[in-house]
């Protein structure tokens, strides 16, 4: 096919060579060779044709494939970015929830600690009051016991002293007077 094409191009060049002889002087003064130009144009067209038929499709296909891959990659990247954003958002939500729960736990713990302290304080006060009351009771009992002991000891001392004094000083005359007084009292 290529040989047939080149044969046709040569025949056409020979034909145009004859018709352009008249204008050849202006062109040769410009340095333009019509035959060569025609060959170059035909060759360029042939190359363009061949490239367009055999090379450019392959190139374009590979470029398209590469674009598709790039597009795929970009899509995957966007999807990954979306997923990452969603995951981050989820993490942020969970963190916020965890912080809220932690805050609640701390508040509850503080309240419970305050309540326990109050209870312990109240219990300590009650214990102290109980100890104080017991001490007061003990002291009262001891005071009462001491008063009893003093009362009894005083009675005993008075009785003993009276016995000794009367034993030493009571005369028969005084005794007679005491007896007479006692009998008068008994008579009444």
């Amino acid at each position: 096919m290529l040989e047939t094409l080149l044969t046709h191009v040569a025949s056409a060049a020979e034909a145009t060579g004859e018709t352009t002889e008249a204008s050849g002087d202006i062109m040769s003064s410009l340095g333009i060779d019509w035959q060569m130009l025609a060959f170059q144009i035909i060759g360029f067209a042939l190359i363009v044709f061949l490239l367009g038929k055999f090379v450019f499709p392959i190139l374009l296909r590979s470029i398209d494939e590469r674009n598709a891959k790039i597009e795929e990659g970009l899509k995957a990247a966007r999807e990954a970015e979306d997923n990452a954003t969603k995951a981050q958002s989820k993490i942020d939500d969970q963190l916020a929830e965890a912080r809220r729960e932690a805050k609640e736990i701390v508040a509850t713990a503080k309240d419970e600690a305050t309540a326990m302290l109050s209870k312990a304080d109240e219990k300590a006060k009650q214990n102290a009051k109980h100890v104080l009351d017991q001490a007061h009771d003990e002291i009262s009992k001891e005071v009462i016991a001491a008063k009893k002991a003093l009362h009894n000891e005083t009675l005993e001392l008075v009785a003993s002293a009276t016995e000794r004094v009367i034993g030493k000083t009571h005369s028969a005359k005084a005794d007679k007077a005491v007896i007479a007084e006692a009998l008068k009292g008994a008579d009444k």
Partner: protein, 125 residues
């Protein structure tokens, strides 16, 4: 005497005999109590006898004092007991310290210092 006479009846009999001046009744009573095996009732019978005599104005009383009592006190004692005939058994006991204690079958009057001191000691709590 018949078997198992009451103490009251025995005491009444003894009192009658004593009022009549028959002192042998005491020996009779002792023999009776031994025979009847009622010697444990001797004190009760004697007390009952004395009570009956006291009811009739014949009083046997024990008098205790730290010093010997004189006639004036004896007269006061007779007035106090209201007895027609008062027989005193006098006891001198220095431990009573002073005052007088009179014991008859039916009453006891303790006006001794020892008794008063004892009452004082009883007020211990």
């Amino acid at each position: 005497m018949s078997s198992h006479l009451s103490r009251t009846k025995i005491a009444h009999y003894v009192a009658e005999q004593l009022r009549a001046g028959k002192r042998d009744v005491v020996a009779e009573l002792a023999a009776f109590l031994v025979e009847e095996r009622r010697t444990g009732e001797a004190d009760l019978i004697m007390r009952s006898t004395l009570e009956q005599l006291e009811a009739e104005g014949i009083v046997l009383a024990d008098v205790t004092s730290a010093t010997a009592i004189d006639e004036a006190i004896k007269t006061e004692l007779q007035k106090l007991t209201g007895a027609k005939q008062l027989t005193l058994r006098e006891h001198v006991d220095e431990s009573v310290l002073g005052g007088i204690r009179l014991e008859t079958p039916s009453q006891r009057i303790d006006a001794t210092f020892a008794h008063r001191l004892s009452q004082l000691r009883e007020r211990k709590i």
